[in-house]
């Protein structure tokens, strides 16, 4: 039994004489303790899907099970108990505007039955986590966008939930603060074994944080899998689209023009790195073997879950025959490689 199980969940919205199918027959199983990501274009249905997990959105059809219990048919009382174990970070923060930052968090603590006397200390601890300890007495309208989001994060963590649902929890944060939050979540996930479901459009965050992920397109989950696999071998057009944006495949036209002006004509090749490839002295080895020169044009190689992944665009110059040989050598050694243009 998975901790979160969605079975054929659909959500329909009626809007101005048409029906929007925000979530369309989605089935997912999320295991206890994992960090599960959901990505997709704006309007794909990510928020709607995650809202079904804690019952804020009733599915039009389908089942939502938490720890084996179908929450769509729970009594209000039971649903409350389930929710106390689920933290939710809202895309648009949803802070109580007439209550201070501290009171906003105290509310969640009280809801979770945290003893009143110990709340001030806990609030301070939570706000310190998100770097806002000195803002405890400020009202939300005295905070910047990112600060509000951080209060939302602190509130969601207040009751040490078993499941944390994050809807774009870092989208209003700069990279540095976002990384701190991501590390914080990773740490919490490891230490407390909580399950995290995380929506993001920040691929940087996705690759650093997720264990597994689902790709949504127009209400449908078009692909699920390990994060590394999806980044390395996206199958669906949507996954390819999102991943390619991170791996910056296209070569700017200015570069092509510059190359065209070079004395020696060559060939552009795009290498795709997977797994351990990066540890082999591939480029120098082939260059030496085939006697070509290789420049690195652009690329992105990094590690997802300690395995290399990336794309490298190289420019091979030398004798026409040598270039052919080199290309053949690359083709035989890296996962995929594609000749570009010419």
């Amino acid at each position: 039994m998975s901790q979160i199980e969605l079975t054929n969940v659909s959500v329909l919205f009626k809007a101005k004489n048409r029906t929007i199918s925000a979530v369309n027959d989605v089935s997912l199983a999320i295991e206890a303790g994992e960090i599960y990501g959901i990505v997709g274009l704006s309007g794909a249905g990510k928020s709607t899907l995650v809202r079904t997990i804690n019952g804020l959105q009733k599915p039009s059809t389908g089942l939502v099970k938490i720890n084996g219990i179908d929450i769509t048919s729970l009594t209000k009382q039971k649903l409350k108990q389930v929710r106390q174990k689920i933290g939710f970070i809202f895309q648009n923060f949803n802070l109580i505007s007439n209550r201070t930052v501290g009171q906003n968090i105290a509310f969640a603590l009280t809801a979770g039955g945290y003893p009143e006397k110990e709340q001030p200390a806990k609030i301070n601890e939570l706000l310190s986590l998100v770097g806002l300890a000195d803002r405890v007495d400020n009202y939300p309208n005295q905070l910047s966008g990112g600060q509000k989001q951080r209060v939302g994060i602190a509130r969601a963590l207040a009751n040490e939930p078993e499941i944390l649902l994050c809807d774009e929890a870092t989208s209003a944060l700069d990279v540095a603060t976002a990384e701190e939050i991501v590390n914080l979540l990773k740490d919490i996930n490891k230490r407390l074994k909580i399950t995290i479901v995380f929506i993001t459009h920040q691929m940087e965050v996705a690759k650093k944080l997720f264990n597994r992920m689902a790709v949504m397109d127009n209400g449908v989950v078009v692909e699920t899998g390990k994060t590394y696999e999806i980044f390395a071998n996206p199958q669906s057009p949507m996954a390819k689209k999102l991943v390619n944006h991170v791996l910056a495949v296209a070569i700017p036209s200015e570069i092509k023009q510059q190359l065209a002006l070079q004395a020696t004509q060559g060939q552009i090749l795009t290498l795709k790195y997977h797994g351990e490839d990066s540890l082999h002295p591939l480029i120098t080895a082939i260059a030496r073997e085939t006697n070509v020169d290789i420049s690195i044009l652009q690329g992105h190689i990094e590690f997802i879950e300690a395995r290399a992944i990336g794309i490298l665009s190289i420019y091979i110059t030398g004798e026409t025959l040598a270039i052919k040989k080199a290309i053949a050598a690359f083709n035989s050694q890296v996962t995929t490689s594609a000749e570009v243009g010419e």
């Binding site: 804020l56 929710r83 009280t110 939300p140």
Partner: protein
């Protein structure tokens, strides 16, 4: 002039006290029960909670029925009830009974409106924590609706001061009655003007306090 002063000296203190008594009691009752009923109307009609159209219609109907009666009729119809509650219906306490009965549905509608204006997302955030309704009420709905509630309370208190003149004329006393008995029925214009000035000052103070409180509790 001396006549006016004499009448005022003789009656004003007590009349003020009577008005104060009537308005205070009925405001408190109106605000407490009005808030509860307004909350019920909000609760039973809101998709985020448990919409109960039938129950909601019934509560709404009772409220409307009470509001339908012109106060002039209501207070007469309620004299036996006032007697039951307050012993003597022709006292400020007796007057407070019909004022309260009028204040409750009036404020219920104001409270309902104030709650209905609260952002749904914030309430959802409250529900997402697993908080029960009363906690959400206390820590989300109430603070978010507070400025509108305060403005509504002011509206109610000032309306009640006006209505208290009416129960005054059937025996409950108060400054409104003083103005009518002497100023209107007996052409003691001095008394009428004095009472009006006093009322203007009182209302001004109430409004001023209310505005300050409402602004103080508005943080968005």
């Amino acid at each position: 002039m001396t006549e006016t002063l004499h009448i005022l000296q003789e009656n004003l203190g007590q009349a003020l006290w009577e008005t104060f008594e009537m308005v205070l009691v009925s405001s408190i009752i109106g605000i407490i029960f009005g808030t509860l009923i307004g909350l019920a109307l909000y609760y039973y009609s809101n998709q985020l909670f448990t919409p109960r159209p039938v129950l909601n219609s019934i509560v709404g109907f009772i409220i409307n029925a009470t509001r339908s009666l012109p106060f002039l009729i209501l207070m007469v119809v309620l004299i036996p009830f006032a007697k039951l509650i307050a012993g003597d219906p022709y006292t400020p306490m007796g007057g407070a009974v019909s004022l309260s009965v009028a204040a409750v549905p009036f404020f219920a509608r104001i409270a309902q409106s104030a709650f209905a204006e609260v952002n749904q997302g914030v309430i959802e955030a409250g529900q997402a924590t697993g908080a029960g309704f009363w906690l959400i009420f206390q820590d989300v709905l109430f603070p978010e609706a507070l400025p509108a509630l305060i403005r509504g309370i002011i509206l109610t208190i000032i309306s009640l001061i006006g209505y208290s003149a009416m129960v005054g004329t059937i025996g409950a006393g108060g400054v409104g009655n003083l103005a009518i008995q002497y100023g209107y029925n007996r052409y003691e214009t001095g008394v009428l003007i004095s009472v009006i000035v006093i009322l203007v000052v009182i209302v001004q103070i109430i409004q001023w306090i209310g505005d300050r409180l409402a602004n103080h509790y508005t943080r968005s």
